[in-house]
Symmetry: C2
């Protein structure tokens, strides 16, 4: 497999995986492209490489910046803006996990809390709803906490401890 083929394969695979971490295809592809680029890229270059429109590129770059995984790079002497992505996979994972938690998981946990806290009127169906949503709430909260801890500051020692445990 040659460079170009490998590059295309990476971008399209990683791009289609976007759904897994909750972003759209173009967004994921732009990030992929920057991730393997040896230098910051301009909007022009991104559009050309991915064959997407200017508007699309602009909007998705903004979203990537909102996620905190792409930053503007100002290159001296250049009028246009250049972009880079976080290159360290650990940092990348940290940002992604944090955003997903904030945007999607936390709100769901909140709803589960509300639903599982309704008054028990003694009927079987109410008891079941409370019991099941409470179980889901606890699971979601534990999973979210684990996610964040693993991926955060204590990253190093905890990951090492964990790897010892599971290997």
């Amino acid at each position: 497999m040659e460079y170009q083929e490998a590059k295309d394969k990476f971008i399209s695979t990683w791009g289609s995986l976007g759904s897994l971490w909750g972003i759209n295809k173009a967004m994921a592809q732009i990030q992929s492209l920057l991730f393997i680029s040896t230098k910051p890229l301009s909007m022009e270059e991104i559009m050309d490489e991915l064959k997407i429109s200017r508007g699309n590129t602009s909007m998705n770059l903004r979203q990537l910046m909102d996620w905190g995984i792409v930053t503007k790079e100002l290159i001296p002497g250049e009028r246009k803006e250049f972009f880079t992505t976080e290159k360290d996979v650990q940092e990348l994972a940290r940002h992604i996990a944090k955003e997903r938690s904030r945007r999607e998981i936390k709100p769901v946990i909140k709803t589960l809390k509300e639903v599982s806290s309704i008054k028990d009127d003694g009927t079987e169906k109410t008891k079941e709803l409370i019991k099941q949503t409470k179980a889901l709430h606890d699971l979601a909260e534990t999973a979210d906490a684990m996610m964040n801890k693993i991926v955060n500051q204590e990253q190093n020692w905890i990951t090492k401890s964990l790897l010892k445990l599971i290997k």
Copy 2:
């Protein structure tokens, strides 16, 4: 909040979360409904509750069975089929994690392996592609392994160990 409101809220919240674990809205809603039901439900009942068509219900029930989280229940004396979902959240999480890994994560890991194994032609861009995809490969593999271990057999002791570590 009354039972009906809480129930609707749960179904719509959990349903919209479907994207997080890679399934569509109807599928997630059917699963939610079964999850808080005190008894197995027929297709008729599911259609009525969720206001979706027969065809839609049939297709999504099949997918849920493919995922291994819904099963047919044959009720003696009844002609029609009834359905139940896995009620234990731990088991549910196990099935979901396993399927996601198999369907989406493993294939991506495989591609990352391929891409990161191309011949190093000595150019900077090839080196970068190899380096970055290798880092991603290792991360994905570790994350996937952790996921599966946590959620699998060793569940109890490892979860307890882990909880001690992160609390």
